[in-house]
């Protein structure tokens, strides 16, 4: 994503928003200027930052957990045809289930604390990473594996020098693809039984206090979080998988 294009996109959105606010002329769509003022006030004097950090922490910890658990499993499945064909049906049954439908069950089982929210986001990322890493590992050319084996590599060295580095782009692609879903589900997870997080903040301000500028400030914060996460993945990709971008 080019910086210039990003700036252009933000400007376009602001213009449409402003025009919309003028045309509608209702409290439910305040102008971006008044939202910006509220955003600043809520951030400095209010509790927006706390809610933002609570949400960010939930996303970050579930992402790390998902990578730590799904990537090794994906590697193991990807390099063994037998294990893969054994577990594939299970994965394909579970993978398409929208994890958000499980929110009530997870809340019931894991309680109303952070754990249930983290677990829901974890599940979404887990399957994405598992499937992408598995496919990366399974699609490594046999010539490559044979060549490296002929250099003396056994199973351990193949993992270290072939399967592991081959899976890193898969992990990053999975993260990029699932950030949007993760943030969206975060909102839903934070609607229930919590008083912390952007989901709660947006819902509480919008539906209970009817403080629309504050609600939009929360939405802006959520968009900002998604965008930052996306940029973080992008940055990582250029740092640790730069070979993909050479021509």
């Amino acid at each position: 994503m080019k910086r210039r294009n990003l700036l252009f996109a933000i400007l376009t959105l602001l213009v449409i928003w402003q025009v919309g606010a003028w045309l509608l002329n209702e409290p439910i769509l305040p102008s971006p200027v008044s939202v910006a003022v509220t955003f600043y006030n809520e951030l400095v004097r209010g509790e927006l930052l706390e809610h933002f950090l609570a949400s960010l922490w939930r996303v970050a910890i579930s992402t790390l957990l998902a990578i730590a658990i799904a990537a090794p499993l994906g590697l193991i499945l990807g390099q063994s045809k037998r294990l893969n064909s054994l577990f594939s049906p299970l994965i394909y049954i579970l993978y398409p289930i929208p994890k958000v439908v499980l929110v009530p069950i997870v809340l019931l089982l894991l309680g109303i604390g952070d754990l249930s929210k983290i677990f829901i986001i974890f599940m979404i990322l887990f399957f994405q990473i598992l499937v992408l890493v598995r496919d990366r590992a399974a699609n490594i050319r046999p010539e490559l594996v044979l060549s490296v084996r002929s250099l003396g590599a056994g199973r351990r060295a193949l993992f270290r020098f072939v399967y592991l580095p081959a899976s890193i782009p898969g992990i990053l692609t999975a993260l990029r693809q699932s950030i949007g879903t993760a943030v969206a589900v975060l909102y839903i997870a934070e609607l229930f039984a919590t008083q912390q997080g952007l989901g709660y903040y947006i819902y509480f301000n919008g539906s209970t206090l009817f403080n629309y500028p504050a609600m939009y400030a929360g939405i802006v914060a959520m968009a900002f979080m998604g965008l930052s996460l996306y940029f973080a993945v992008d940055w990582l990709e250029h740092r640790i998988a730069s070979w993909q971008f050479v021509s």
Partner: protein, 255 residues
């Protein structure tokens, strides 16, 4: 002294199909340069994988310096047609991969020779193969010829005594191919290698093989060997003998 490579009544079949080799005997002496020539499906790549210890005979055995082959042998180098390089590693990192694998295991005599010293220098190899100027490029950024040079550097840095090559220059343009064929013969001479190169190209077999093993449609039972002493002459590529040999090989392959 044991021959470098010895096949003793080797039989190899994929599943229940027609065996590719049946009671096949063959010998390669130290320092010989062999080309294995045949049409596709004749089993020449299979033979190479068997020699590399990556596949195992259905029956019979393969001896390398008198020792039965049970796994890839540290002193045997293998170079494949393509896709042998790590796409995420630079030329230098690819070339040092073998040394890193050896350091990873240490001198255990299984993955790496017992006398392995992790001090071997890579730069002379990059220099010898003309790769120093591209050493920080990724495989996708260099030419096909440079990729094969990288594969050669990676293998020779391990000081092999047997070098196995599977259609190594098949995807290269003619001048690059000729260049690398000459380089292969130079290195074979310099490093005292025993060379087995698999190819479907008659010209390549004629130039590189001081002896040529001709394979046909399976099952291969008795080896067909063509002596090619003339190929040691530097101008062989332009001689009448070369043309005669090519014609002879073409005729035999058509049968």
């Amino acid at each position: 002294m044991h021959p470098m490579i010895q096949l003793e009544s080797l039989t190899y079949a994929y599943g229940q199909g027609t065996p590719i080799f049946q009671d096949f005997d063959w010998q390669v002496k130290h320092g010989e340069a062999w080309a294995v020539l045949g049409p596709s499906g004749c089993g020449k790549s299979t033979l190479l994988y068997l020699l590399a210890g990556l596949r195992f005979p259905t029956s019979g055995q393969i001896l390398i310096e008198g020792q039965p082959l049970t796994r890839p042998r540290p002193h045997t180098g293998l170079i494949l047609q393509e896709y042998g390089l790590l796409p995420w590693a630079t030329v230098r990192q690819n070339a040092e991969l073998g040394l890193r694998v050896r350091s990873f295991y240490g001198p255990d005599g299984k993955h790496s020779p017992e006398d392995f010293q992790p001090v071997e220098k890579l730069d002379p190899w990059l220099d010898r193969l003309g790769l120093l100027s591209v050493n920080d490029k990724y495989p996708s950024q260099i030419s096909g010829g440079q990729r094969q040079r990288t594969a050669i550097a990676r293998t020779l840095a391990l000081k092999p005594d047997v070098l196995l090559m599977d259609e190594p220059f098949g995807s290269l343009d003619a001048p690059t191919r000729e260049d690398l064929q000459n380089l292969t013969l130079e290195l074979w001479d310099e490093q005292h290698l025993t060379l087995v190169i698999v190819t479907h190209a008659i010209e390549e077999a004629s130039v590189l093989g001081h002896k040529i093993l001709l394979l046909g449609q399976p099952p291969n039972i008795a080896p067909v060997v063509i002596e090619n002493p003339g190929s040691r002459r530097p101008d062989f590529r332009h001689s009448v003998d070369y043309l005669d040999l090519c014609r002879d090989l073409r005729r035999r392959m058509e049968v």
